[in-house]
Assembly symmetry: D2
Homo-oligomer: 297 residues x 4
């Protein structure tokens, strides 16, 4: 197999360097900064002629800048002779815009996928939000695409720290995550029901969990409303210790307050989106995904 270099955009260097260590490949940090008028400046810091490059882009928190940076960097890599560019986007934005809910709305993830397909020859992501699409290959039809999961890593971290406990999906969409986490640690899982009454107004219903401790899991925590509802329900039904784990901790608005003030004992996330609760690294999972993509070719 051809030599692989790992290169990282802004804010993704820590994860990219760790992945490079896992894979035993050289690492470079791309020069990426913003001009005062908001335009992104990008510069590739090494010779990439003829080599394969895994381009890391952490798009959480600033998805538009992240997408443009990835497109500019991939373009620069190609212009400088890189053979293949594989995008490692640990968090893929716009994946929740996976349907046209009202007339006139685009299926935004389709456009995002198209932009990326035109720019790179493969993509690795972590726990992509798959709801109306059921497989990453339904979204990325034209390039190699691998979706690795951080749920086993999260489940193992939590159970090693706080003991084995039942896993709870706060809604239908999260069942896939709860099942995966529960399987990893050999516990059972429960699925709650969510009724959405507004952008940030949800009601969570369901029977309780017959245990003193429980772990709520989800792929993305955004405003925290779903987690808040689930945690309150569990607490009311007598669960004393409620823990929360997620892959992508966006934590917008007052998410932290909603989560901790509803009685959650601890919040654990991965480092796909840089945030202070990131205690589980996805480096090994991403490394595995990159190897898989390279074998496929």
């Amino acid at each position: 197999m051809k030599k692989l270099l790992i290169m990282s955009g802004k804010k993704c260097g820590a994860l990219a360097r760790e992945t490079a260590e896992v894979m035993g490949t050289p690492f470079y940090q791309i020069h990426s900064r913003d001009f005062p008028d908001g335009e992104i400046y990008v510069r590739i810091p090494a010779d990439v002629a003829g080599v394969d490059v895994a381009l890391f882009s952490c798009m959480g928190g600033n998805p538009n800048r992240g997408l443009l940076e990835a497109l500019l960097a991939a373009y620069a890599l190609k212009e400088n002779g890189a053979r293949n560019v594989i995008l490692a986007a640990p968090y893929l934005p716009y994946a929740r815009q996976d349907a046209s809910f009202k007339p006139g709305e685009p299926v935004s993830i389709r456009l995002v996928a198209k932009l990326l397909e035109d720019a790179v020859s493969g993509i690795v992501t972590v726990d992509m939000h798959l709801h109306r699409f059921h497989d990453i290959k339904d979204v990325f039809g034209g390039i190699a695409a691998v979706n690795v999961s951080a749920m086993p890593l999260l489940a193992r971290y939590v159970s090693s720290r706080y003991g084995r406990m039942p896993v709870v999906a706060p809604d239908d969409e999260a069942e896939q995550w709860a099942r995966r986490a529960a399987e990893t640690i050999g516990s059972e899982y429960y699925v709650l029901e969510k009724e959405r009454r507004g952008d940030e107004d949800v009601e969570i219903r369901g029977r309780g969990v017959n245990a003193n401790r429980a772990l709520i899991v989800d792929d993305i925590i955004s405003t925290g409303g779903t987690i808040e509802g689930a945690a309150r329900l569990l607490r009311e039904r007598g669960v004393e210790e409620v823990y929360v784990a997620c892959t992508h901790a966006l934590l917008v608005g007052d998410a932290e307050a909603k989560i901790f003030n509803s009685g959650v004992r601890d919040l654990i996330s991965t480092n796909t989106v840089p945030n202070p609760y990131a205690r589980v690294s996805v480096a090994e999972a991403v490394a595995r995904g990159l190897s898989e993509i390279r074998r496929e070719k």
Copy 2:
């Protein structure tokens, strides 16, 4: 010719509506807002099946959001059956990144052009920054592209308000703008010399202007350093009243302070980038550009 609708993205509605009035076509404002996590939400508010749409996007001030919004809106228009989508981008960002100054840098405007070419079938812009490329058609090879100028409008506005006066280009690149402005009002023009000593450190040299009043023109004012240098030079050489006109007033950093504290009497810009000095509308020029594009097809 087929029916034309004008639709506008965020912050571009005032100019788009005025253009619609000039052209006698219906106008709609696209629903465009940001989710708390930074993702853009877009919704087309009217039936566009089978019609041509001129999509307005004011990208100054937030170029990455502007580009993504335009791509999402164009995609939504196509998905909803629009026949042709023509982009009206009064200010085209990334045009100054028109060369690879250091190894590893992309020619970013090439990528931006490619993204837009894949999304729309024509583009109208105003006073595109053309330095290393000499014609908009060298940048947009695959779609119809029209570049209209606001210089005649600016020159006429200034001379009607303050009288006819010589026009000054603060550097070589601006000669094209000074010539155009001077021709419009029948006055002479001068070109100063700029030596760039750093990102925001320039020195302007040149003989004086034999007049009591002078008008400095440029396409873009960003940090204001070039204008400051030119204004100081003119003031030192005895020009009592210095006026400044530009098409795209980005005015980042302390540009306003640099300009006004160097003795400039008045600053006049167009409305391609929303800003408090926008007193000249490009609506008629953009309308002309749109008509030209539609005739070309």
Copy 3:
């Protein structure tokens, strides 16, 4: 009376310069920009020892930066010997946070007023949002405070352009503005009823307006939901031409789309918040306010 200088922070220079022209006083633009880490840099560009300074600060759109910039600039003016500093804040942020709606909430406008009172000796603002407080002097108890209105200017502009018409307040709070506007142009006014069902979900009720044209007025347009509701109601009740005028056009989210897609013919605002619909300048009103403050002392 002592000499007065007018000095402006970022984004407020156009209005400040116009006010300086009205008052016949010198104008300087303060150097104000942001370091890459987000800290504000401020520099006073002229000798202010012993003189009175009217400090202009346009805080709409970025209220926290605006407040800090004003505090830093006022502090620098004092350190450099200015005798009196009067703040001209055409738009005063945080004024809608005028009560503790839930336990634990601060009356934020009280803190903002306290910060400003400690920094300047007088304040002039335009159409301050007065709902639970009924007079600006109830908020600013320790310094001279003048609240001028742009409603007469807006009403005159609209009626000179589109003819005299009834004025409509979209809710109780706006009655004060509608009355003022209607008095100016000698027409009648109506008050609609608003029921708020969520942060961005309102219902507007009321009898119609017996006219072909009507002008909806408000002090602030933020998300545009209130205006949208009022415009739809008037249109349904047979008002053919609906116009909207406001002092402070914040226009966040998809406000423009809500307003124009609900059938509004034209939107007119002042320049207290820089925005593309600013066609009425408050310079003369602010100049009057500054003179009033200086007489009071």
Copy 4:
């Protein structure tokens, strides 16, 4: 001593909770989010009547929002009956603006200190940038102020992971940090010389370090230029393994690229500013500082 509650503003919850665990005190996350127009909303989530509150505010990355949030929260705490409010600001912004370098510039840290002194009765910070001021008590004269250091924690972390090595101060200002770090691990320290030639253009000079490994330390890493210069110098003088440790990792612009592409092996920071390199927690140091403040009273 009276009961102490720990409460945290946005983005500071992880560190605050850990500090609460260290101190055995209850923890609450303050509801803090931004309205669409940029105003901050704050709500205290618990009864604070009669108790002392340690208010955590992580101001790095968004200093103006951070300061306003802290002022609003402190005000709300007081309004709700808190006895004493002590601010825990692990990173104190504006501390580098500690002199008037050009006429007309404010000593901004003086104003920031004044705003905080009016709002709280004590402050704990970590490795405050003290250059022209030599002691935190010279800045905060009116309230109890404690400045704890993370240098021993950083030095111990690095030496336990990579072995004992000489410590290098990249410039005079950093000598205090290098001395402290070197003392902790019983190694020697060196001071390099910095000549600043522009905002982001520095030259680092000095003799080499007679060792295979060296640890560069500083309080703040902003654009990374100083670290880049020091790392290049050490590498050129034959130091094979260069490590970098800092308390406050702001990492603006392309700092990561400058640091890693100049041959740095690893970058270690604390969690005073949330960032992906934060591997050393200051919770124990902040807890110590809070106890010291409370004893002083």
